[in-house]
């Protein structure tokens, strides 16, 4: 019996039963953009950057199990326009001032915006007021850049066994909170060695005193675009 496969932008992608579209695509060396998906964790499906059109329906490819014979569109001008709009929403929702951000060049949101050639935030900015939390001796939290991927929430809960982070409020007022009555990171059991301290795809969780150790210009996405780096990470690091 031959392995089942589906067509991704016209080319066959084999998959195993239970594999999602995104997972199968990656295994076959094909990149589908994503921000909240991470190989170590169950699909989350919140950022919607991985949206594809499968058998005529728009679905989150990170969460949708692959089906034999499906025709899946991903790298098309129409879908990339949708993705660009989603990025623009993330940019206007928070305060993303790249020139002052230590994560610049290593940031997945920024890298994806480069890759999808987002040149304008397009919408009217919300300019929310989100004070930073610098209380912890080793790590700074700059909530201005949070995209609510919940990777820190999941890493702290599932890998570190700590539950340092959670989300509160809802809608456009949704916010990241830490596990302390004071609301300060210093009053939690968070440590710079936690997995959660190394998983933020954007510039919320920043390690102090190392900000510009790697100079701008020599950073992750300076050398290669995210569609290349993202595929490499899985093969090399895991």
């Amino acid at each position: 019996m031959s392995t089942p496969h589906f067509l991704l932008d016209g080319l066959p992608v084999p998959f195993e039963e239970g594999q999602t579209i995104l997972e199968a695509a990656r295994a076959a060396g094909r990149y589908i953009p994503h921000l909240c998906w991470h190989p170590e964790f169950a699909p989350h499906g919140s950022c919607k950057l991985c949206v594809v059109k499968a058998a005529g329906r728009y679905v989150s490819s990170c969460a949708m199990p692959a089906r034999a014979g499906w025709e899946v569109e991903s790298d098309t001008p129409a879908l990339n326009t949708r993705r660009r709009t989603l990025l623009q929403m993330l940019f206007v929702e928070g305060n993303h001032f790249c020139p002052a951000c230590e994560k610049s060049g290593d940031c997945q949101l920024q890298a994806l915006a480069y890759d999808l050639e987002m040149t304008t935030p397009r919408f009217t900015h919300f300019f929310p007021d989100r004070p930073v939390d610098a209380s912890h001796p080793d790590v700074l939290l700059d909530f201005n850049r949070c995209i609510y991927c919940e990777l820190c929430v999941r890493a702290s809960r599932e890998t570190d066994g700590k539950a340092v982070f959670a989300l509160s409020q809802r809608g456009i007022h949704k916010k990241l909170v830490v596990n302390a009555e004071s609301g300060r990171l210093a009053d939690t059991d968070f440590a710079a060695t936690d997995h959660a301290a190394h998983i933020c795809p954007v510039g919320v969780i920043l390690h102090k005193r190392v900000g510009f150790r790697t100079p701008i210009g020599a950073r992750t996405y300076d050398a290669a675009p995210i569609r290349v780096v993202a595929m490499r990470t899985e093969a090399d690091d895991d």
Binding site: M89, S168, R170, V178
Partner: protein
């Protein structure tokens, strides 16, 4: 004075030290303490063995739970468009003026806070409000003045005049369900006599489809749950009637509670469930006592508990969970999360609740009306039920009618009734539009009044809001878009940000600052929301705007400041031949090619 610890102890005593009742504990504490101070959150987290941040996250999700102090009297005006049409905004202004405060702020003495809330389900008797969670309907300036006096006098809520809290049923048209007398146990007796298989076969024959809006065939859902592996199956009654403009479930829970609970028991009989849960929206908490009484009555009669109807092993009981102000919890997977004491975020599907539902167990989630209808099927048989309504929409449908009509209330019709018929019956005149199915539904224009209420034509969960010629359909849609932005759970990017952007853009138009480019932007946002949202809230949020731009475009264009267009031809050049023929060259013989804006 009761201390925080004593309150927490009392709440834990009532609900047990279980993480899955976290929301119920918080609702109880909110009622006891008036808000949820941070020390209390810490205390609850400790007692339940939960991370504090998780408890804070849950408390922060629900509109009726407050992490910051609110007034000892919390007054919330229902802000649905039909309440507004009945004058709710003016009454809120009156109350604020009288009590010297501004909406959204707590008075300096901490006595009172006033704000708006999403539709409280009293559209047939608005304007309505909630005071400390208790519903008051039929507000007018005189009653608002009385309420101001009661608040000033700090009169406890249970000493307020009882008639304030009386809620009318306003049943205007009865058919199969509302028109029949029901003897508790009759339907169950019939279903038990058929055996589990035979009963399910009757359900299949009935073609009953879910009344919550989606219209999924009930028997298919039941069968899937029955066939799912796992012993501890669950039946959930979705009584989170949050769709703006609907209130028929409120009436069913008031008048037909036995049928609803018997329907749950019938579902349990079919799927083999032992546990039943009613998720009652917080706005209807006043119904809790009467529902508990019905549950107790049914336990005494042997229609709930162990060995129901004398059948060994048919064990089923029902408990009530309260919501706390979150429309998204009407989505079945968000409802399950909420029942588990979590934030009401819709789950990734598949897997579906029928296999992985409440606490991961196979779960049937049915709407209040769907469950009540099951009794009719048990009593009169599936084929009899299927013979009514239309071929694809069997049975009757309860409509919640509000807005511009002489007789608002609940109407039961066989499926297939035309919108025009309904409008005639409720006494609507000079109708400009009807919003069928609530904010997420369809805006129906007069040329469509011949369309029928049915899954295959105009589907609806029950809301039917009438707008006469004096109303601005743009403002109706803007109200709905504000509602969706307020109720978005914020999980997925398109809904969290997109509903807020859509709201801001409609507000821009409302202020008279719109341009043609904004309409293009609105249509693009609509498409994105439809295509990429995680759940039905996001994908239906643009519906009123999509329909509005298609059917009532002038209502939008009226708000545009700039509607520039440049003709393809040279206007002055087009006069050249005539100038030549007349020999004229005076200023009146020329046209300026610049647009108004350029001049």
């Amino acid at each position: 004075m009761t201390t925080t610890d004593e309150h927490v102890e009392a709440a834990l005593q009532r609900y047990g030290h279980r993480a899955d009742v976290l929301l119920q504990i918080l609702v109880e504490l909110q009622a006891r303490v008036g808000w949820l101070p941070s020390a209390l959150i810490t205390r609850v987290a400790h007692a339940l063995g939960l991370p504090r941040a998780r408890v804070e996250g849950v408390a922060g999700f629900y509109s009726f739970l407050h992490l910051a102090p609110v007034g000892r009297y919390r007054v919330l005006f229902s802000d649905n468009i039909v309440d507004q049409m009945l004058g709710s905004r003016a009454l809120m202004a009156q109350l604020c003026d009288t009590l010297w405060l501004s909406p959204g702020r707590v008075s300096e003495d901490g006595l009172v806070s006033v704000d708006t809330t999403s539709c409280t389900g009293m559209g047939d008797q608005g304007p309505a409000m909630l005071v400390n969670g208790q519903a008051i309907a039929r507000l007018d300036p005189a009653r608002v003045n009385e309420i101001c006096e009661l608040i000033r006098a700090q009169r406890p809520l249970d000493a307020w005049p009882a008639h304030y809290f009386a809620i009318d049923d306003n049943i205007r048209r009865r058919d199969a369900l509302l028109g029949s007398a029901f003897v508790p146990g009759d339907a169950l007796r019939a279903a038990i006599a058929l055996g589990r298989e035979g009963w399910l076969a009757q359900m299949q024959a009935s073609n009953l489809r879910g009344r919550g809006g989606a219209g999924f065939t009930t028997a298919v859902k039941w069968q899937a749950c029955r066939d799912a592996p796992g012993a501890q199956k669950v039946v959930v009654c979705n009584a989170d009637e949050g769709e703006p403009g609907t209130f028929k479930d409120r009436v069913l829970l008031t008048r037909c509670a036995h049928q609803v609970i018997e329907g749950m028991t019938l579902a349990a009989w079919a799927v083999g469930a032992q546990q039943g849960l009613i998720y009652l929206r917080g706005e209807y908490c006043y119904l809790r006592a009467s529902l508990e009484a019905v549950l107790a009555q049914r336990r005494r009669a042997g229609w709930l508990g162990a060995g129901i109807g004398g059948v060994a092993g048919f064990d089923f009981d029902v408990e009530i969970h309260l919501g706390a102000g979150a429309y998204v919890c009407g989505e079945e997977s968000a409802l399950l999360e909420s029942l588990e004491g979590k934030r009401g975020t819709p789950r990734i599907r598949p897997p579906f609740p029928v296999t992985h539902g409440y606490l991961g167990r196979p779960t049937v989630v049915n709407n209040v009306e769907t469950l009540a209808k099951c009794c009719l099927i048990a009593q009169h048989g599936g084929p009899a039920f299927a013979a009514t309504g239309t071929a694809q929409s069997a049975g009757t449908k309860l409509l919640s009618i509000s807005g511009d009509c002489a007789r608002p209330g609940v109407y039961e019709y066989p499926f297939g009734v035309s919108i025009r018929q309904v409008l005639d019956d409720c006494g609507a005149r000079e109708v400009q539009a009807v919003q069928v199915g609530g904010a997420s539904g369809v805006t129906v224009a007069p040329y469509e009044f011949g369309r029928k209420i049915a899954f295959e034509d105009v589907p609806t969960a029950g809301a039917f809001m009438v707008f006469d010629a004096t109303r601005d359909i743009f403002e109706v849609a803007r109200n709905f878009v504000h509602f969706f932005a307020h109720e978005s759970c914020g999980f997925c990017t398109p809904c969290r940000v997109g509903t807020a952007l859509l709201r801001n853009t409609l507000d821009k138009l409302a202020k008279g600052n719109g341009s043609a480019a904004d309409l293009t932007e609105i249509e693009d946002l609509d498409r994105l929301l439809k295509q990429t949202s995680h759940c039905g809230l996001g994908s239906s949020a643009p519906n009123p705007v999509i329909d509005g731009l298609q059917k009532f475009r002038p209502a939008y264009e009226r708000h545009l400041r700039n509607r520039d267009f440049v003709p393809a031809f040279d206007l002055d050049g087009a006069l050249a031949r005539a100038r030549q023929m007349t020999g004229r060259d005076d200023p009146g013989a020329h046209l300026d090619n610049a647009t108004e804006a350029e001049r």
